[in-house]
Each structure stands twice: as structure tokens, then as C-alpha cells.
């Protein structure tokens, strides 16, 4: 599709493999960066070079964010991402097992762009990933960068 990065914040190696497989099956060949917890994800997004002049990593096209994460959980990641000038407009898709209303409401109020519940069936998951890829990597126009990346 393009050379933009997808940031996958997911602690379960099984889920990481299955998500990668689903992306692959849908011919989504973007670079996938996997962060196994919220702290690593925030570091990836906000880490600056030693001289402080620029960010170490390019902004991803979209973040696929699990909610239940070690150290810093998904909702906190979302809160920090929105509070930070660099990532305030970054598209974040919450991708989780939970269909708790509470999680949904909180995710949206913290500024999630989308909330997708991972289905049990892999076929349904494939379809969900296909649509996500189509929408966020092709259809959606990303917001302009909010700083000199």
C-alpha cells in the first residue's frame, strides 16, 4: 500500500503473530513496529535525538492500540498521545478484546479515532483488519504533521 509505518501496541506474542498474519493475508505490506507495552509505545512516539533537534522515529500512519497492557495501559497511552503536541492528531484505533461499554466510552472520550473489538473468529478478524487497512492506510487522509518531523 505505502511505506508508512503501522504501530502495533500489543503485549501478547500470539496476538502479534495473528495480527501480522491478518495484515499479511490482506496484502498490507507496511512496516509494522510492535511495542509490547504502553511505555515502549510512548517512548517510540516521543523519543528525541540526543541533541534534541528532532524525533528519533517517524510518526506512524496509524496506531493499533490494545487496551490491556503491562506498565502503561492503553487508555493512559491514549491520554498521553493526545496530550503531546506531536501526536495530538495521530490516528489511533483501539483494538481490543473488550466490549465493555466503559472501555468504549473512555476510549472515545480520550480521543480514539476508532474502536474495534477483536472477534473470536479469525475470519472475522481478517475482515476487520482488511477494512482497517483499507480505511486508515488508503482512504483516510492523515492530518498534517503538527511539527517539523
Amino acid at each position: 500500500m505505502n511505506d508508512q509505518t503501522i504501530l502495533l501496541v500489543e503485549d501478547s506474542p500470539d496476538d502479534v503473530d495473528l495480527t501480522m498474519r491478518a495484515l499479511e493475508k490482506n496484502n498490507i505490506s507496511n512496516r509494522i513496529v510492535v511495542c509490547p507495552d504502553g511505555a515502549v509505545a510512548l517512548a517510540y512516539l516521543h523519543e528525541r535525538s540526543k541533541d534534541g533537534t528532532h524525533y528519533v522515529n517517524p510518526l506512524p500512519q496509524v496506531v493499533l492500540l490494545d487496551l490491556k497492557l503491562p506498565k502503561v495501559d492503553g487508555l493512559e497511552v491514549l491520554k498521553t498521545v493526545r496530550a503531546h503536541q506531536r501526536t495530538t492528531l495521530l490516528p489511533v484505533v483501539v483494538l481490543t478484546s473488550s466490549k465493555e461499554e466503559k472501555d468504549m466510552v473512555e476510549s472515545y472520550s480520550l480521543g480514539a479515532n476508532s474502536y474495534v473489538r477483536k472477534p473470536v473468529s479469525f475470519e472475522e478478524f481478517l475482515e476487520a483488519v482488511r477494512q482497517l487497512g483499507l480505511y486508515w492506510l488508503l482512504l483516510n487522509q492523515s492530518p498534517p504533521p503538527t511539527d517539523n518531523d
Binding site: 501478547s12 500470539d14 495473528l18 498474519r21 487496551l67 478484546s97 473470536v120 479469525f122 475470519e123
Partner: protein, 404 residues
């Protein structure tokens, strides 16, 4: 006014039998009159303990029989005491302050502690009135022993306090159980589904990538693993719905039940377009209920009717209602597989199923959910059916006149 009552003559005679013993009484009251004896009797024979004390010296000038009986002092002992002597030492200052400050003629003197002859203390409510006794300014005192009443009140207060503590404790327990339940549901929602996804995902990967290596029934077994995984996923979702309903507050609004039923049927038709089911919904069905909850109930009831008519030629579902004994009753009726009435009481238990999974799929949680929703509305749900001929589920969403 009293003097005009004819019955006084009888009392008069009675009074004359009991001579007045109060010293100086004759001087105070002037020449003895029959009526005066009556009044003295009213004092002497009064069922309430009474005495008269000198406002200056506080000495007790006269005492009645009830006081002697109740307090245990003889009349002579009473007459040798001041009103300070029947009180606890620590009350002396209070008493003086009290006597010094308040002087209306009729006085509710409040509650005091008095000492009986045996040394025990009683709580008494005192009322008094000024009078002149043997030429002295005095007060007539009536004492009402309220010791038992106060003890009873104290017991009630104590019981109430205990009850409040108990209620607080129970509420806390309930809250903590609710929190645990919430945490549990949350955990179920997150953690129990995740492994299912992995089982299904990798089973599918095996089918896709290694189909050639799977001999004999290999692919079939994998298909069965996946089917069971799906079923477990459904079970978890249904259990979560059931748990979520239990912790929800009912918000009653006017609900167009006919429209809601039509919505449910529309969704079923969209999901199952190849099914041909004749559905009749009585127009104008209304309820005052929690719309979200009632939607879930109708999802289950109409969904069941839809499912259990899947093997019926000329499948038919009817949604209707009627007023019965002042209560609106709703029905969902079908001509499907039905059930044997002897199992009717098992229908509403969680995980209870009356049909084999191979005949009709399901988790056995749907009707338990319906029952929970109906109970939350103080209503009732019941079922009538016949194997092979269909079932009728009826429910109310309010407390009926005959319900307790």
C-alpha cells in the same frame, strides 16, 4: 365547677373516713369542709407518687401513699427529708439552679434522677404546681417513674445503632462484591476471549498452511476445534450480557413495544435472509420500561421463536398483548419445536437447555437473561408450550395487582 357535680357526695363520705394527717392542714385550709377532704384524698390516694415541699426550706411537707410505696421511704422518713435528699449528690447544684431560675405556676420540671430508699436510682419525669400549704409557699410535685421507658428507649436506640452498623457493613460487603463482580466481568471480557482468538487463529493457520499434511479427519477435527471456540466465545458474550444486566438500573421511559419488536424482526431477517417466517405484530403495544433492557429481552424471545421455527414448514411468529387483571401482558408466540410442559420450570435457569445443540444451537443463557430483565421491572415471565407445536412466552413489565 367541680362542686356542682352530684357524685361528690359519695366521695365526700369516703373522704370523711380518712382523716387528714397533714400537719397544720386545718390552718391552711380554714375550717374543714367536706370538699376539702375530697381534695386531700385526691392527693393522698393519687396513683401517681406526689409530695408537697416547702419552697424555702425544701423540706417535704406532705407525701402520698403512692410515693411511699414507690420510693420505699415511710411517710415519717419523707417528712424528715428535703427534696435534695432524694436526689443524687451530683444533682444538688442543678436542683438549686433550677429552683432559682424557673418559677411559672405550673411547671414541667423535666427528667430527674431520684434515689429510692434501697439506694437504687430511678428516672422520673416531674411536674409541679405552686400552692400554699399550711401558710407556707410550697410546690405540689407529681413524679412519674420513666426508668423502664428510658431503658426501653435506650435499647431501641442501641438496636437502631446496631442495625445501622449492620446495614453499613452489609452495604459495604455488597459494594465490594459488586466491585469484584465488575472486575470479574471485565477480566472475563478481556482475558477469556483472548485465548479463544489464538486457538481459532492458529487452527485456521494450520488449515491454510498445512492442509496437505492433514490426513484423514485432520481438517475435520480442526473445524470442530474452531466451531467449539466460536461457541465458547458466544457463551462468554452471553454471560457478560447477563452480568451487565444485573448491575444496571432500570430507567423507565414510554416504549413502543410494537416498533421495538419490528426492529428485532428486521434484524433477524437481515441476518437470515433465506428464512421465510410469517411475523405478525399487534400494533399499538406500549410499555413503561427500560428500552435497552426490553430490547435485549425481545432479542432473546423473538430470536428464540425465530430459531425454534427453523425446522417448521410455514413458520409463524406472533407478538401481541392484552390487559389482564389490570396489568399489561405481552406474548411472543411461535409454531416451532415447542417444549414439554413438564420442563417449563427449567427454561429460565442459566445454562438450561431443552434441545440438543445439534438440533438448535444456543448457550442456555437467553431466557435467564429475559427473566433477569423482567424481574428488574418487577414483572413476571412464564411459558406455555407443547412439543412439536410451538411455544408462547408471556411477560409483564410491572408489578401486577395480584403480585406481592
Amino acid at each position: 365547677m367541680v362542686t356542682k357535680r352530684p357524685r361528690l357526695s359519695a366521695t365526700d363520705r369516703h373522704a370523711s373516713e380518712k382523716p387528714v394527717t397533714a400537719p397544720g392542714h386545718a390552718r391552711a385550709a380554714g375550717p374543714p369542709k367536706p370538699l376539702a377532704h375530697v381534695y386531700v384524698d385526691i392527693f393522698k390516694n393519687n396513683p401517681m407518687p406526689m409530695w408537697i415541699f416547702d419552697l424555702e426550706t425544701l423540706r417535704i411537707l406532705a407525701v402520698n401513699e403512692a410515693a411511699v410505696v414507690h420510693y420505699g421511704y415511710s411517710e415519717a422518713e419523707f417528712l424528715a427529708m428535703t427534696i435534695k435528699d432524694i436526689r443524687a449528690a451530683e444533682d444538688a447544684a442543678n436542683l438549686e439552679r433550677f429552683l432559682a431560675t424557673q418559677r411559672p405556676a405550673l411547671k414541667k420540671a423535666g427528667i430527674w434522677k431520684h434515689r429510692k430508699r434501697d439506694g437504687s436510682f430511678i428516672d422520673v419525669e416531674i411536674v409541679s404546681h405552686e400552692l400554699v400549704w399550711a401558710g407556707r409557699k410550697a410546690r405540689l410535685v407529681s413524679s412519674n417513674d420513666i426508668t423502664e421507658r428510658l431503658q426501653a428507649e435506650a435499647r431501641i436506640l442501641e438496636i437502631n445503632a446496631n442495625l445501622e452498623t449492620l446495614v453499613r457493613e452489609r452495604t459495604q460487603q455488597l459494594e465490594s462484591v459488586n466491585q469484584e463482580l465488575e472486575a470479574f466481568s471485565y477480566s472475563v471480557s478481556h482475558d477469556l476471549r483472548a485465548p479463544l482468538r489464538v486457538i481459532d487463529g492458529f487452527s485456521q493457520a494450520l488449515v491454510e498452511d498445512y492442509a496437505k499434511l492433514l490426513e484423514g479427519n485432520g481438517s475435520k477435527y480442526l473445524a470442530r476445534i474452531r466451531a467449539t471456540t466460536q461457541r465458547m466465545g458466544l457463551l462468554i458474550d452471553d454471560l457478560l450480557t447477563l452480568a451487565r444486566i444485573s448491575r444496571r438500573n432500570v430507567k423507565r421511559v414510554p416504549v413502543d413495544m410494537s416498533a421495538l419488536a419490528a426492529e428485532v424482526v428486521k434484524e433477524l431477517r437481515e441476518k437470515d435472509p433465506e428464512r421465510h417466517v410469517e411475523v405478525r405484530i399487534q400494533p399499538g403495544l406500549k410499555a413503561d420500561a427500560d428500552r435497552g433492557l426490553v430490547k435485549i429481552a425481545l432479542d432473546n424471545l423473538i430470536g428464540n421463536a425465530w430459531k425454534f421455527t427453523s425446522k417448521t414448514a410455514g413458520a409463524r411468529i406472533e407478538v401481541g398483548g392484552e390487559h389482564r387483571d389490570g396489568t399489561q401482558v405481552f406474548h411472543v408466540q411461535d409454531n416451532g419445536a415447542g417444549f414439554e410442559m413438564q420442563y417449563a420450570n427449567k427454561l429460565f435457569g442459566a445454562f438450561q437447555r431443552l434441545h440438543a445443540e445439534s438440533d438448535f444451537t444456543g448457550t442456555g443463557i437467553g431466557l435467564a437473561t429475559v427473566q433477569r430483565i423482567v424481574s428488574l421491572h418487577q414483572g413476571r415471565v412464564w411459558a406455555e408450550g407443547e412439543a412439536g407445536r410451538g411455544a408462547t412466552f408471556s411477560f409483564t413489565l410491572e408489578q401486577g395487582e395480584t403480585d406481592e
